[in-house]
């Protein structure tokens, strides 16, 4: 928006007057607020009038068939994809559509990718070190030193994600499930307000899955977590509130029982299976 048109809008605070580094404002409840978001790729509507609110401290599961727009939704929130129309707010003060990926990450939105992405050439410890919340500009990073309290934090997270024994090994040698854990650990190091977790239990054993469920539920209250998952058993084990996406918009929302008895949802899922 050009400055001149903005100056004409006398009913709101000019955007250049609002401080950019102000804390996230969640006094009104939601930490994430998406309204009427639309995205199309070459005419294909990936996101279609999506409305979604996530409350502060909530654990939300998002399910939906392939191509329902789950990953695209995460791309929009983290600044990777720009929507054609709509608005996305973090708290009631930060317009995510005007920020780039590093800004959004520093603001407190952490993301785990669908395919586990860790830095394979670096050790497990170093992976967590880079993720740690810190001043991430070039020169502070160049002169950064490891303080004892940093080491303790990293060790605590290593304990949580059960990778203590592999601390100094390169992340490239980890198994698929361990990489998933490491990536979740990196999210924890970032101390985000909102965690976006894309398919956290893919490639995990039953036991690992249980531990992941425990970890994610333990975060609720302090942090908001959005989990995208295909594994219904896992969703049932952690979910309080479930949102079903279909063709880029919200099809149903409610508890797992409500959602799984919803005729629309049954139609979409069974229709796919048939």
């Amino acid at each position: 928006m050009s400055i001149m048109t903005e100056l004409a809008n006398r009913d709101q605070v000019f955007s250049f007057l609002t401080p950019t580094d102000s804390p996230v404002d969640v006094r009104h409840g939601p930490i994430l607020y998406m309204e009427d978001v639309n995205v199309s790729f070459d005419g294909f509507k990936a996101i279609n009038n999506l409305n979604l609110t996530i409350d502060d401290g909530e654990l939300r599961c998002i399910i939906g068939p392939n191509g329902a727009g789950k990953t695209t939704m995460m791309d929009i929130i983290t600044g990777k994809t720009r929507p054609d129309t709509g608005s996305v707010w973090f708290g009631s003060r930060h317009n995510l559509l005007q920020m780039n990926e590093p800004d959004i990450a520093s603001l407190g939105i952490g993301r785990k990718f669908q395919k586990p992405t860790v830095f394979e050439a670096l050790s497990v410890f170093e992976n967590l070190e880079l993720a740690m919340a810190a001043d991430k500009r070039v020169f502070p990073t160049l002169t950064a030193t490891m303080k004892p309290e940093h080491r303790e934090r990293i060790d605590a997270v290593l304990e949580t994600i059960h990778l203590k024994d592999l601390r100094d090994h390169p992340a490239g040698i980890l198994s698929h499930g361990q990489k998933q854990w490491l990536e979740i650990g990196m999210l924890l190091m970032q101390r985000p307000r909102l965690l976006l977790v894309d398919e956290p239990v893919a490639g995990m054993t039953e036991q690992e899955m249980e531990r992941t469920a425990e970890l994610l539920t333990s975060l609720t209250g302090k942090q908001s977590v959005v989990v995208v998952e295909h594994d219904m058993g896992f969703v049932r084990s952690i979910a309080r509130k479930v949102t079903v996406l279909h063709q880029g918009s919200v099809l149903a929302e409610g508890t797992m029982d409500q959602v799984s008895n919803d005729p629309e949802v049954i139609k979409v899922y069974l229709g796919e299976d048939a």
Binding site: E101, G110, T117, V118, F119, A121, L130, K136
Partner: protein
Amino acid sequence: MWLTRPLQERSTQLFLGILFMALLVVSVLHVALPEGHALHVSAYTVTLLGKYLCYALLAVAVDLVWGYLGILSLGHGAFFALGGYAMGMYLMRQIGDRGTYGDPVLPDFMVFLNWQELPWYWYGFDMAWFAFAMVLLVPGALALVFGWLAFRSRVTGVYLSIITQALTFALMLAFFRNEMGFGGNNGLTDFRDILGFNLRTDEVRLGLFIATGIALALGYLVCRAIVTSKLGRVSVACRDAEARTRFLGYRVERVQLFVFVVSAMLAGVAGALYVPQVGIINPSEFSPLFSIEIVVWVALGGRATLYGAVIGAILVNYAKTVFTGVMPDAWLFALGALFVLVTVFLPQGIAGLLKRRRKRNDDTPETSSTAEATA
């Protein structure tokens, strides 16, 4: 301080130890032994070794961006040549009225072209401090502008390599033109003095060789300090998973820009030390072939080790000196064969070979002890 931290590393101590030892041995053999003695190092050899050290510094600069940041620059010769030209301009102005045409201000080639006055961009190069600052600033500024445009638009990989290649080629064509005021295809030559010392004496040549060795040591230290800092690990992160790094909150394009500019400045210093030793700078240093050759040195020595780049640069250039003396026509074939052999048999270069060897030595007692423990 972050800059002195690498001094505590064993590998850095070893590298610097060997480097300073070599400087000392060469100097002593050159000065103390009489000419004609079997172990006497001639002034010619000293200058040749100085040239190798310049190439080594250039290779370290390329390894910093290629090995640790994953940016394959095929145009680092451009930064090297720009540093060289800045030094060459200073040396030209030092000639004064001793040139063939005896003009107190204008270099010979300008008199020859009938130019009446010095172009504005030659001002200031009669002062050493200004010229030496330009050695750093001109390559740095070019890298800053070029890198800012490229990294901001997220141009990486093969495309970036091709653009860097185009950059050095464009500069070569530009510097070939007489109208540019840099001596056209003859370049700048016929130097006499540096900082008041006569360039054509053996003592000054030895001094330049030692200065180059010290520059290499400092350059190595700066690069080592960067790669062992947290920023170095972020560089590796950018190299391996750029998107992930961004989502952690790092501004990937700024990290790339910083490292790229530092590397360009180091290449400029290498070029500036190269020119007084070889006595000429001309546009052939901008040739794409030269930039590709630098990459071959680094690949041969081993990427992402820094010392590997030094080994590679010295070995390949030594081989080049020998080959071009014995069979000048066969050199390019030999270089090509070398590159193919290294890629096939030593994908991690000579440094990889050293590393594997050291690991094997370390592992033997360890594996036997674990075997005992399990038994």
